[in-house]
Symmetry: C2
Subunit: 301 residues, 2 copies
């Protein structure tokens, strides 16, 4: 196949990689032009400005993932139901017709699954997971993608069997900015205080619910039992520990994905549970899109 223009277009950012015929990233571009701030919903104009030169130069295929395929995005790509693998996703691409400038542009669908009658969804993370499986050469895995809405993903035989969403990053922000705890916390998070973070993790793992453990941010401060500068790290430990209490597997390795600053915290918290980890960074998205593009070229779906 020719090269690939790989696009990760999320709620708050747009990232693009130009990949050569061997799947190597030649160049990357990124901006804060997430789908929520595309003027007038004119995705084509933003797309052309961002990478039409690459598409034209290489006659490349362009594959996009993320919220660009949601109802608020460029073109809705309906969710694939789990279990789903590369081939399922590659066979359910939403093609932009006509695409700007005559390019071949497709959007990767998100995934859906169901627990006890309640649906769960992801968009974009499925591509990162497929990429991580390539990078680490794994058939089976448990993966965590930390973030505003963390995802815990179970893979069996290179298929995503199911996943769960945790609003961990969002709860941290809500408590940090809008709750009574915000009065106690210093204006800036500052560097990670490892001892305070560890104490938060331990507290959450032993506790029954964040509804209760979160209040300790206030009382430890009120009773002068923890310095104000340490409280953001403690709260971070509480929310991440709460996520792990409800989701971490009893045994086996966990693949931790995403930005280093957050991945380090998850690795540290998982160590409390004696869970070994492996790390995969943001290159997973490009590897995942490349893998889907290859499946498509081979005509296997």
């Amino acid at each position: 196949m020719r090269g690939l223009v790989a696009v990760d277009w999320g709620t708050s950012s747009l990232r693009i990689a130009r990949m050569d015929a061997q799947g190597r990233v030649i160049e990357e571009r990124s901006s804060a032009q997430g789908i929520l701030i595309v003027p007038g919903g004119d995705f084509a104009t933003v797309f052309i400005a961002a990478c039409a030169d690459w598409v034209r130069a290489d006659g490349s295929f362009c594959l996009m993932s993320g919220m660009v395929g949601s109802r608020q995005g460029w073109l809705e790509a309906p969710y694939c139901a789990c279990p789903a693998g590369f081939a399922d996703v590659a066979g359910a691409l939403a093609w932009l017709m006509p695409a700007p400038g005559g390019a071949r542009v497709a959007i990767v669908p998100g995934l859906s699954c169901e627990h006890d009658g309640v649906p769960d969804v992801m968009r974009g993370e499925e591509v990162q997971v497929f990429g991580a499986l390539q990078v680490l050469d794994l058939q089976d895995a448990t993966l965590v993608l930390p973030g505003t809405h963390s995802k815990w993903v179970t893979v069996r035989g290179q298929q995503i069997h199911g996943f769960s969403t945790f609003m961990t990053g969002e709860f941290y922000s809500l408590l940090r900015q809008h709750s009574i705890l915000s009065r106690t916390l210093p204006p800036e998070d500052g560097a990670l205080d490892e001892a305070a973070f560890d104490r938060g993790v331990t507290q959450a793992l032993a506790g029954g619910s964040l509804l209760s453990t979160a209040f300790s941010v206030r009382t430890l401060s009120l009773m002068d039992r923890m310095a104000a500068q340490a409280l953001p790290s403690y709260l971070s430990g509480l929310v991440i520990g709460e996520e792990l209490r409800a989701s971490a597997p009893a045994g086996g390795m966990v693949v931790v994905m995403g930005a280093p600053a957050l991945a380090v915290r998850y690795e540290r918290a998982l160590a409390h549970l004696g869970v070994p980890t492996r790390r995969v960074g943001s290159e997973a998205t490009w590897r995942g899109l490349w893998a889907i593009a290859q499946t498509l070229e081979r005509g296997t779906p």
Copy 2:
């Protein structure tokens, strides 16, 4: 003893009851003048305007509870450590010297306790609990005081042995107003949708953490599996169910206190666990203050 002017002065409200020599409430007054909006911290002026006529007329003793005794209040009444009963609290009153207009005015201290090295505190709820013990004539009890910060209280031999705080009401407001879920929820909560509330309770009781179950508000809406009007009741069931999952006793009766609208929800949720309940309303505060005043008169502390 003479009558009592009983004052419940919290963060966002001021309630006052005039009680006769038999402890009957003759008259009540209330305003939104909570301690956070007392102009210039001039509590004396607000107090005199609110009830000096009652104090002067009866030559009454005045007993106050709530956040008025906090560091941000009129006079700090240091916390009593649990276990603590009527007599402990009555012996640790903070006296206002001089009190406005020569009145005898005292503030009831709050309580503190500790779980696994983490402190917990209450102010005002201890008086409601003492009152409920009087109303129901109980020696031992488990009580819940629902609210912004719900309290679960364990009483043995009329002493408060320990308690736990759950930020349930505050989490509801945070998710309702500031989270991604606010985009899905209708502008007004509307009447309670019992089926949706029950579904939320069931979901939370079976779930591992609100971090995860809260996301179902979004997905049920996204997948058109629940009407928008039902979502606030569902979210209410999720947060109350989460509190019960972490706090409800395996057996025995629970005393549910506070305002009827919220008490009804807790009773309904506790019924899911087969836990019988008894209700005590806002009269508990006056009964509690009266009981402390009586202990004081008898000189037992």
